[in-house]
Symmetry: C2
Protein backbone atom coordinates (compact mmCIF):
# COMPACT_ATOMS: atom_id res chain seq x y z
CA UNK A 1 0.00 0.00 0.00
CA UNK A 2 1.41 3.39 -0.94
CA UNK A 3 2.07 5.59 2.09
CA UNK A 4 -0.59 8.17 1.28
CA UNK A 5 -3.41 5.64 0.99
CA UNK A 6 -3.56 5.03 4.71
CA UNK A 7 -2.57 8.54 5.72
CA UNK A 8 -5.43 11.05 5.92
CA UNK A 9 -3.17 14.08 6.45
CA UNK A 10 -0.99 13.06 3.52
CA UNK A 11 -4.02 12.47 1.27
CA UNK A 12 -5.49 15.84 2.22
CA UNK A 13 -2.21 17.57 1.56
CA UNK A 14 -1.81 15.88 -1.82
CA UNK A 15 -5.42 16.76 -2.78
CA UNK A 16 -4.95 20.37 -1.66
CA UNK A 17 -1.73 20.78 -3.64
CA UNK A 18 -3.41 19.35 -6.73
CA UNK A 19 -6.43 21.66 -6.46
CA UNK A 20 -4.37 24.74 -5.55
CA UNK A 21 -2.28 24.08 -8.64
CA UNK A 22 -5.28 23.50 -10.93
CA UNK A 23 -7.81 26.09 -9.70
CA UNK A 24 -5.69 28.45 -7.66
CA UNK A 25 -5.46 28.71 -3.89
CA UNK A 26 -8.25 31.29 -3.49
CA UNK A 27 -10.72 29.26 -5.55
CA UNK A 28 -10.27 26.06 -3.55
CA UNK A 29 -12.41 25.37 -0.45
CA UNK A 30 -11.88 22.95 2.41
CA UNK A 31 -14.92 21.00 1.13
CA UNK A 32 -13.24 20.69 -2.29
CA UNK A 33 -10.05 19.37 -0.70
CA UNK A 34 -11.85 16.86 1.51
CA UNK A 35 -13.97 15.68 -1.45
CA UNK A 36 -10.90 15.29 -3.67
CA UNK A 37 -9.23 13.20 -0.96
CA UNK A 38 -12.38 11.10 -0.43
CA UNK A 39 -12.70 12.35 3.15
CA UNK A 40 -15.00 14.69 5.08
CA UNK A 41 -14.44 18.33 6.03
CA UNK A 42 -14.57 17.16 9.64
CA UNK A 43 -11.55 14.94 9.02
CA UNK A 44 -9.80 17.88 7.35
CA UNK A 45 -10.25 19.99 10.48
CA UNK A 46 -8.85 17.21 12.67
CA UNK A 47 -5.56 17.64 10.79
CA UNK A 48 -5.41 21.31 9.74
CA UNK A 49 -6.79 24.54 11.21
CA UNK A 50 -7.61 25.93 7.74
CA UNK A 51 -6.68 25.58 4.08
CA UNK A 52 -3.61 27.77 4.55
CA UNK A 53 -2.17 25.48 7.21
CA UNK A 54 -1.98 22.60 4.73
CA UNK A 55 1.08 24.34 3.31
CA UNK A 56 2.66 25.11 6.69
CA UNK A 57 1.90 22.01 8.73
CA UNK A 58 5.57 21.04 9.04
CA UNK A 59 6.76 24.32 10.47
CA UNK A 60 6.31 23.47 14.17
CA UNK A 61 8.33 20.27 13.73
CA UNK A 62 10.96 22.19 11.77
CA UNK A 63 11.28 24.76 14.55
CA UNK A 64 11.56 22.05 17.21
CA UNK A 65 14.27 20.18 15.28
CA UNK A 66 16.23 23.36 14.68
CA UNK A 67 16.16 24.34 18.37
CA UNK A 68 17.14 20.80 19.44
CA UNK A 69 20.13 20.90 17.09
CA UNK A 70 21.11 24.32 18.44
CA UNK A 71 20.86 23.09 22.04
CA UNK A 72 23.02 20.06 21.27
CA UNK A 73 26.10 22.12 20.33
CA UNK A 74 28.50 22.67 23.27
CA UNK A 75 28.29 26.26 24.55
CA UNK A 76 32.04 27.02 24.09
CA UNK A 77 31.65 26.45 20.32
CA UNK A 78 30.03 29.87 20.04
CA UNK A 79 26.75 31.15 18.59
CA UNK A 80 27.49 30.80 14.87
CA UNK A 81 28.39 27.12 15.22
CA UNK A 82 25.18 26.50 17.11
CA UNK A 83 23.20 28.29 14.41
CA UNK A 84 25.07 26.30 11.74
CA UNK A 85 24.05 23.02 13.40
CA UNK A 86 20.48 24.25 13.47
CA UNK A 87 20.57 25.07 9.75
CA UNK A 88 22.07 21.67 8.98
CA UNK A 89 19.19 20.00 10.80
CA UNK A 90 16.71 22.07 8.79
CA UNK A 91 18.48 21.16 5.55
CA UNK A 92 18.27 17.44 6.31
CA UNK A 93 14.57 17.72 7.10
CA UNK A 94 13.60 20.00 4.20
CA UNK A 95 15.97 18.66 1.59
CA UNK A 96 14.18 15.37 0.97
CA UNK A 97 11.57 16.26 -1.60
CA UNK A 98 12.50 19.02 -4.01
CA UNK A 99 9.54 18.44 -6.33
CA UNK A 100 7.12 19.03 -3.44
CA UNK A 101 9.07 22.06 -2.24
CA UNK A 102 8.96 23.62 -5.70
CA UNK A 103 5.23 23.09 -6.08
CA UNK A 104 4.65 24.54 -2.64
CA UNK A 105 6.87 27.54 -3.35
CA UNK A 106 5.11 28.28 -6.65
CA UNK A 107 1.79 28.42 -4.78
CA UNK A 108 3.23 30.72 -2.12
CA UNK A 109 4.82 33.03 -4.69
CA UNK A 110 1.41 33.45 -6.34
CA UNK A 111 -0.44 34.57 -3.21
CA UNK A 112 0.26 37.56 -0.93
CA UNK A 113 -1.48 35.97 2.09
CA UNK A 114 0.70 32.87 1.82
CA UNK A 115 3.82 34.99 1.43
CA UNK A 116 2.91 36.78 4.68
CA UNK A 117 2.44 33.45 6.43
CA UNK A 118 5.88 32.36 5.21
CA UNK A 119 7.47 35.58 6.51
CA UNK A 120 5.82 35.05 9.89
CA UNK A 121 7.08 31.47 10.00
CA UNK A 122 10.65 32.60 9.35
CA UNK A 123 10.36 35.36 11.97
CA UNK A 124 9.18 32.75 14.51
CA UNK A 125 12.15 30.53 13.72
CA UNK A 126 14.52 33.50 14.08
CA UNK A 127 12.97 34.31 17.48
CA UNK A 128 13.28 30.68 18.62
CA UNK A 129 16.95 30.54 17.62
CA UNK A 130 17.63 33.85 19.37
CA UNK A 131 15.93 32.56 22.54
CA UNK A 132 17.99 29.37 22.31
CA UNK A 133 21.19 31.43 22.09
CA UNK A 134 20.11 33.58 25.05
CA UNK A 135 19.66 30.39 27.09
CA UNK A 136 23.28 29.55 26.26
CA UNK A 137 24.41 32.87 27.74
CA UNK A 138 25.07 34.63 24.43
CA UNK A 139 24.67 38.42 24.86
CA UNK A 140 21.35 39.71 23.52
CA UNK A 141 22.66 41.66 20.52
CA UNK A 142 24.90 38.79 19.40
CA UNK A 143 22.07 36.30 19.85
CA UNK A 144 19.75 38.36 17.63
CA UNK A 145 22.42 38.94 15.01
CA UNK A 146 23.48 35.29 14.82
CA UNK A 147 19.84 34.14 14.62
CA UNK A 148 18.88 36.68 11.93
CA UNK A 149 22.05 35.97 9.93
CA UNK A 150 21.23 32.27 10.15
CA UNK A 151 17.77 32.91 8.75
CA UNK A 152 19.33 34.97 5.94
CA UNK A 153 21.49 31.96 5.03
CA UNK A 154 18.47 29.65 5.33
CA UNK A 155 16.31 31.70 2.93
CA UNK A 156 19.02 32.12 0.33
CA UNK A 157 20.15 28.48 0.40
CA UNK A 158 16.56 27.30 0.22
CA UNK A 159 15.85 29.43 -2.88
CA UNK A 160 19.09 28.36 -4.53
CA UNK A 161 18.41 24.71 -3.88
CA UNK A 162 14.88 24.91 -5.32
CA UNK A 163 16.17 26.69 -8.42
CA UNK A 164 19.21 24.43 -8.82
CA UNK A 165 19.90 21.19 -10.66
CA UNK A 166 18.96 17.88 -9.13
CA UNK A 167 22.47 16.79 -8.20
CA UNK A 168 22.87 19.54 -5.60
CA UNK A 169 21.63 18.74 -2.11
CA UNK A 170 20.30 21.23 0.42
CA UNK A 171 22.82 20.57 3.23
CA UNK A 172 25.66 21.31 0.78
CA UNK A 173 24.00 24.51 -0.47
CA UNK A 174 23.34 25.63 3.12
CA UNK A 175 26.94 25.08 4.12
CA UNK A 176 28.26 26.90 1.03
CA UNK A 177 25.96 29.87 1.72
CA UNK A 178 27.33 30.09 5.29
CA UNK A 179 30.88 30.14 3.97
CA UNK A 180 29.97 32.84 1.40
CA UNK A 181 28.43 35.03 4.06
CA UNK A 182 31.60 34.74 6.19
CA UNK A 183 33.79 35.59 3.17
CA UNK A 184 31.64 38.57 2.17
CA UNK A 185 31.35 40.09 5.63
CA UNK A 186 35.12 39.70 6.16
CA UNK A 187 35.89 41.54 2.89
CA UNK B 1 3.92 78.38 13.89
CA UNK B 2 4.89 74.91 15.04
CA UNK B 3 5.66 72.59 12.13
CA UNK B 4 2.66 70.32 12.68
CA UNK B 5 0.11 73.13 12.64
CA UNK B 6 0.38 73.66 8.90
CA UNK B 7 1.06 70.03 8.07
CA UNK B 8 -2.08 67.89 7.64
CA UNK B 9 -0.16 64.59 7.32
CA UNK B 10 1.86 65.38 10.43
CA UNK B 11 -1.24 66.36 12.41
CA UNK B 12 -3.04 63.18 11.33
CA UNK B 13 -0.06 61.07 12.28
CA UNK B 14 0.24 62.73 15.67
CA UNK B 15 -3.51 62.30 16.30
CA UNK B 16 -3.39 58.66 15.22
CA UNK B 17 -0.44 57.87 17.48
CA UNK B 18 -2.19 59.52 20.41
CA UNK B 19 -5.44 57.60 19.87
CA UNK B 20 -3.68 54.28 19.15
CA UNK B 21 -1.80 54.71 22.42
CA UNK B 22 -4.90 55.68 24.43
CA UNK B 23 -7.62 53.40 22.98
CA UNK B 24 -5.63 50.79 21.13
CA UNK B 25 -5.09 50.47 17.40
CA UNK B 26 -8.13 48.24 16.73
CA UNK B 27 -10.50 50.56 18.57
CA UNK B 28 -9.50 53.66 16.62
CA UNK B 29 -11.26 54.57 13.34
CA UNK B 30 -10.19 56.89 10.54
CA UNK B 31 -13.07 59.19 11.55
CA UNK B 32 -11.67 59.33 15.11
CA UNK B 33 -8.23 60.25 13.82
CA UNK B 34 -9.50 62.93 11.46
CA UNK B 35 -11.71 64.39 14.23
CA UNK B 36 -8.83 64.43 16.71
CA UNK B 37 -6.68 66.28 14.16
CA UNK B 38 -9.49 68.76 13.36
CA UNK B 39 -9.64 67.50 9.77
CA UNK B 40 -12.04 65.45 7.63
CA UNK B 41 -11.84 61.76 6.73
CA UNK B 42 -11.52 62.90 3.12
CA UNK B 43 -8.33 64.75 4.02
CA UNK B 44 -7.09 61.64 5.82
CA UNK B 45 -7.51 59.56 2.67
CA UNK B 46 -5.61 62.13 0.63
CA UNK B 47 -2.57 61.32 2.77
CA UNK B 48 -2.97 57.68 3.83
CA UNK B 49 -4.58 54.63 2.24
CA UNK B 50 -5.88 53.38 5.62
CA UNK B 51 -5.22 53.64 9.35
CA UNK B 52 -2.41 51.11 9.14
CA UNK B 53 -0.47 53.18 6.64
CA UNK B 54 -0.17 56.04 9.12
CA UNK B 55 2.52 53.96 10.82
CA UNK B 56 4.29 52.98 7.59
CA UNK B 57 4.09 56.14 5.50
CA UNK B 58 7.84 56.66 5.54
CA UNK B 59 8.75 53.25 4.20
CA UNK B 60 8.74 54.14 0.49
CA UNK B 61 11.06 57.07 1.10
CA UNK B 62 13.26 54.87 3.28
CA UNK B 63 13.52 52.26 0.53
CA UNK B 64 14.36 54.91 -2.08
CA UNK B 65 17.08 56.46 0.10
CA UNK B 66 18.59 53.06 0.83
CA UNK B 67 18.72 52.09 -2.85
CA UNK B 68 20.19 55.50 -3.82
CA UNK B 69 22.94 55.04 -1.22
CA UNK B 70 23.63 51.52 -2.50
CA UNK B 71 23.83 52.75 -6.10
CA UNK B 72 26.26 55.52 -5.13
CA UNK B 73 28.97 53.11 -3.95
CA UNK B 74 31.55 52.28 -6.67
CA UNK B 75 31.01 48.73 -7.98
CA UNK B 76 34.58 47.53 -7.21
CA UNK B 77 33.96 48.15 -3.48
CA UNK B 78 31.91 44.95 -3.36
CA UNK B 79 28.41 44.07 -2.21
CA UNK B 80 28.85 44.34 1.58
CA UNK B 81 30.22 47.90 1.33
CA UNK B 82 27.27 48.89 -0.84
CA UNK B 83 24.87 47.36 1.68
CA UNK B 84 26.72 49.12 4.51
CA UNK B 85 26.25 52.49 2.79
CA UNK B 86 22.58 51.70 2.40
CA UNK B 87 22.25 50.88 6.12
CA UNK B 88 24.07 54.09 7.03
CA UNK B 89 21.58 56.07 4.96
CA UNK B 90 18.70 54.32 6.75
CA UNK B 91 20.29 55.02 10.13
CA UNK B 92 20.59 58.74 9.39
CA UNK B 93 16.96 58.90 8.27
CA UNK B 94 15.48 56.77 11.06
CA UNK B 95 17.76 57.82 13.88
CA UNK B 96 16.33 61.32 14.36
CA UNK B 97 13.43 60.76 16.70
CA UNK B 98 13.81 57.91 19.15
CA UNK B 99 10.76 58.86 21.22
CA UNK B 100 8.55 58.57 18.12
CA UNK B 101 10.22 55.29 17.08
CA UNK B 102 9.63 53.79 20.50
CA UNK B 103 5.96 54.77 20.55
CA UNK B 104 5.51 53.38 17.06
CA UNK B 105 7.29 50.13 17.96
CA UNK B 106 5.18 49.64 21.09
CA UNK B 107 2.03 49.89 18.93
CA UNK B 108 3.42 47.41 16.40
CA UNK B 109 4.48 44.95 19.10
CA UNK B 110 0.91 44.95 20.44
CA UNK B 111 -0.78 44.02 17.14
CA UNK B 112 -0.24 40.97 14.93
CA UNK B 113 -1.51 42.73 11.79
CA UNK B 114 0.99 45.55 12.24
CA UNK B 115 3.79 43.07 12.89
CA UNK B 116 2.98 41.38 9.58
CA UNK B 117 3.04 44.73 7.82
CA UNK B 118 6.47 45.41 9.32
CA UNK B 119 7.77 42.02 8.16
CA UNK B 120 6.51 42.73 4.64
CA UNK B 121 8.18 46.13 4.67
CA UNK B 122 11.53 44.58 5.62
CA UNK B 123 11.14 41.86 2.96
CA UNK B 124 10.51 44.57 0.35
CA UNK B 125 13.63 46.43 1.40
CA UNK B 126 15.65 43.20 1.23
CA UNK B 127 14.32 42.57 -2.29
CA UNK B 128 15.15 46.13 -3.39
CA UNK B 129 18.72 45.84 -2.07
CA UNK B 130 19.13 42.47 -3.77
CA UNK B 131 17.88 43.94 -7.06
CA UNK B 132 20.28 46.86 -6.66
CA UNK B 133 23.18 44.43 -6.17
CA UNK B 134 22.10 42.41 -9.21
CA UNK B 135 22.21 45.62 -11.28
CA UNK B 136 25.82 46.04 -10.14
CA UNK B 137 26.68 42.61 -11.53
CA UNK B 138 26.82 40.79 -8.18
CA UNK B 139 26.04 37.07 -8.66
CA UNK B 140 22.47 36.19 -7.62
CA UNK B 141 23.28 34.11 -4.52
CA UNK B 142 25.75 36.70 -3.20
CA UNK B 143 23.27 39.50 -3.88
CA UNK B 144 20.55 37.74 -1.89
CA UNK B 145 22.90 36.87 0.96
CA UNK B 146 24.36 40.37 1.24
CA UNK B 147 20.89 41.94 1.15
CA UNK B 148 19.40 39.55 3.73
CA UNK B 149 22.45 39.88 5.99
CA UNK B 150 22.09 43.65 5.72
CA UNK B 151 18.47 43.43 6.82
CA UNK B 152 19.52 41.23 9.74
CA UNK B 153 21.94 43.95 10.85
CA UNK B 154 19.25 46.60 10.31
CA UNK B 155 16.68 44.84 12.50
CA UNK B 156 19.08 44.11 15.33
CA UNK B 157 20.63 47.59 15.37
CA UNK B 158 17.19 49.19 15.26
CA UNK B 159 15.99 47.17 18.27
CA UNK B 160 19.17 47.85 20.20
CA UNK B 161 18.97 51.55 19.52
CA UNK B 162 15.35 51.77 20.64
CA UNK B 163 16.14 49.88 23.84
CA UNK B 164 19.38 51.77 24.50
CA UNK B 165 20.28 54.90 26.41
CA UNK B 166 19.88 58.30 24.82
CA UNK B 167 23.56 58.97 24.22
CA UNK B 168 23.86 56.17 21.63
CA UNK B 169 23.03 57.09 18.04
CA UNK B 170 21.64 54.76 15.41
CA UNK B 171 24.45 55.13 12.83
CA UNK B 172 26.97 54.05 15.50
CA UNK B 173 24.84 51.09 16.59
CA UNK B 174 24.36 50.03 12.95
CA UNK B 175 28.07 50.16 12.27
CA UNK B 176 28.89 48.20 15.44
CA UNK B 177 26.33 45.51 14.54
CA UNK B 178 27.96 45.13 11.11
CA UNK B 179 31.35 44.67 12.73
CA UNK B 180 29.93 42.11 15.20
CA UNK B 181 28.39 40.09 12.40
CA UNK B 182 31.73 40.00 10.55
CA UNK B 183 33.54 38.92 13.74
CA UNK B 184 30.96 36.21 14.55
CA UNK B 185 30.82 34.72 11.06
CA UNK B 186 34.64 34.67 10.88
CA UNK B 187 34.90 32.76 14.18
Amino acid sequence: MARWEGDAAGRLREAAMRLYGERGYEQTTVADIAGEAGLTARTFFRHFADKREVLFAGSEILLTRMVEALDAVPVPDGPMRAVAASLDAAAVMLGRDRAFSRRRQALIDANAELQERELIKMAKIAAALRDGLLRRGVPAADASLAAEAGIAVFRVAWEQWMAGSDDVDLPAVMSAARARLAAMTAA
